[in-house]
Amino acid sequence: MFPTPLEKRPPAARTMYQAVLPLALVVWLLPLLAVAIFSIKPGADFTNANYWGVPSSFDFVDNYGQVFFNSDMPRYLLNSFTITIPTVIGAVALSAMAGFALGIYRFKANIWIFFMFVAGNFVPFQILMVPVRDLTLDMGLYNTKTGLVLFHVAFQTGFCTLFMRNFIRALPFELIEAARVEGISEIRIFWYVVLPLMKPALAALSVLIFTFIWNDYFWAVVLTQGPESQPVTAGITAFNSEFRAMYHLMSAGSIVAALPPVAMFFLMQKHFIAGLTLGAVK
């Protein structure tokens, strides 16, 4: 192990480390802690310029109640869920099939199709912006959640296919050959042999895509407007202009908006990290 494990260091170093660790964490998360503190302060503290002092009262329920019952926030949250979940299902399904095709079969265009997915995945959003917005307008899907979902599915398929294909390549190929000898059709091989083995990849990608799509801001701004279809990342700017200078509510709103992917991460940490490292770093 590198660096030298603490057990092999003098006891003083150990105590040092254990003292520095929480301190480092507090410094690292300082901007976030500040927002968390802001979000439980009463509004009066901000008009009285009591920004960093002790909160004059503990207004957790009031502030978060405001966010949930007295603003468009629940609407935006719901939109985010109805955009994110279909996207996850769509992108994972498409890429599982594409990854299977690219991972198992040998044909001439294989590597070029694979590279198309990889390259497309790295393309700057701006070069897609005008045509995709036009396309969505032409299909009558501008400012609808469907329009956003369709684009997200297509774009995320690039990354997901890269991941799936590499994962399938690492599976034991003998399994598939054995199934073929038995005369099982290719479609059944996919469904009954490969798909069950892909569960870790499916989980990793689902968590990861959930976070990516939940946190998307650019496409939400380009393809939607207004509370009826905007997800929470775009909605929060509207929320903030409604509660201008009411920092306790803006903070509470931000925390609410950030929470679902955070919860997702803590629940499925192992899969999340496996996804982030593209499965390349084991």
């Binding site: 590198f2 890429s95 917005r133 369709l150 059709s185 946190n215």
Partner: protein
């Protein structure tokens, strides 16, 4: 006898059964490829084409050849806007790379086994999971000249107050610091998983040879972390060139357009109050794409070499 039976069954097998080895991959690929070509590949070419036109998004397109690019080059439309954005993109690109050593540093710091270290690791990773919009808001308040913690902190040392986001000299750096926060967390997690796979025998061998500290890191550990470093480079460079959310949330490109980058400038030109100059915007996007293409080509080439091995 069995020899003769083979052709007979061969005839009975349907077209699908005979050709499924070639048909199956096409079938499995079709939906993903269609979606991807329709929404990603084709629009890239549309943008290339559009950059040769002048178009307000509604009326008829007027073919102007390379004039949009000339306008960028000579800055006929917005004084300095294009070059400021380009310069800021370069600053972003270089400073963003600091996330890699910073991430490595934190990963080395956290690569210990004490009680609760797993929780610490996930909490350090926290910033990456939050949306950039929230990161932007959090840092905007952190920098706020009236109440931001930064100035409270500087006040303890008798320095400041500085208006990080209101000052043309600091604003880009302020936004980049906000961006480095989640990016460092990302690189950290890449290295933490990488460090798990480092071969302990080589470390021991290195120790016996008297290597320690930085020499050990450089000669023994880092070579084994190469895959992690590669991915860290890829995601950091792409992230730097994609920077949009933070700028949009924190500064809207201001003050006086001094924190614009190409990605944001393009959006401004094509879709905001500055008017709907789609062709001009497309030309900016093409420039950004060209810069990105250099890196994409390099990444693909590295991957291609890996595949060949």
């Amino acid at each position: 006898m069995t020899y003769a039976a083979v052709p007979q069954t061969e005839i009975k097998r349907s077209y699908w059964q005979r050709n499924q080895q070639t048909l199956a991959p096409m079938l499995f690929l079709a939906p993903a490829v269609l979606f991807f070509v329709f929404y990603v590949i084709y629009p890239v070419f549309q943008s290339f084409n559009l950059s040769l036109y002048e178009w307000d998004g509604l009326g008829t397109k007027e073919y102007v050849g390379l004039r949009n690019y000339e306008d960028l080059y000579y800055e006929y439309i917005d004084r300095d806007a294009f070059y400021t954005s380009l310069k800021n993109n370069v600053i972003w690109l270089f400073l963003y790379l600091l996330a890699i050593p910073a991430g490595l540093f934190i990963a080395l710091f956290l690569n210990q086994t004490v009680t609760g270290i797993r929780l610490y690791k996930s909490l350090f990773f926290f910033p990456f999971v939050i949306s950039q919009v929230v990161v932007g808001l959090v840092f905007t308040w952190f920098y706020d000249p009236a109440f931001g913690f930064l100035n409270v902190f500087l006040g303890w040392f008798g320095a400041g107050p500085i208006n990080m986001l209101g000052d043309e000299r600091y604003v880009t750096y302020g936004v980049i610091i906000a961006g480095l926060w989640p990016q460092t967390a990302y690189c950290m997690i890449l290295y933490l998983t990488g460090l798990n796979a480092v071969n302990p025998e080589q470390i021991e061998a290195g120790r016996l040879d008297g290597a320690k500290g930085l020499r050990m890191l450089w000669h023994v550990v880092l070579p084994q972390l190469r895959p992690a470093t590669f991915i860290a480079f890829v995601v950091t460079i792409i992230g730097a060139l994609r920077s949009f959310d933070l700028i949009s949330i924190m500064t809207s490109g201001g003050p006086f357009g001094s924190s614009r980058v190409l990605a944001y400038y393009m959006f401004e030109v094509a879709l905001s109050e500055y008017g709907f100059r789609m062709g001009y915007g497309a030309a900016i996007a093409v420039v950004l794409f060209a810069i990105m293409m250099v890196f994409i080509a390099y990444f693909l080439w590295s991957m291609y070499r890996e595949e060949k091995r």
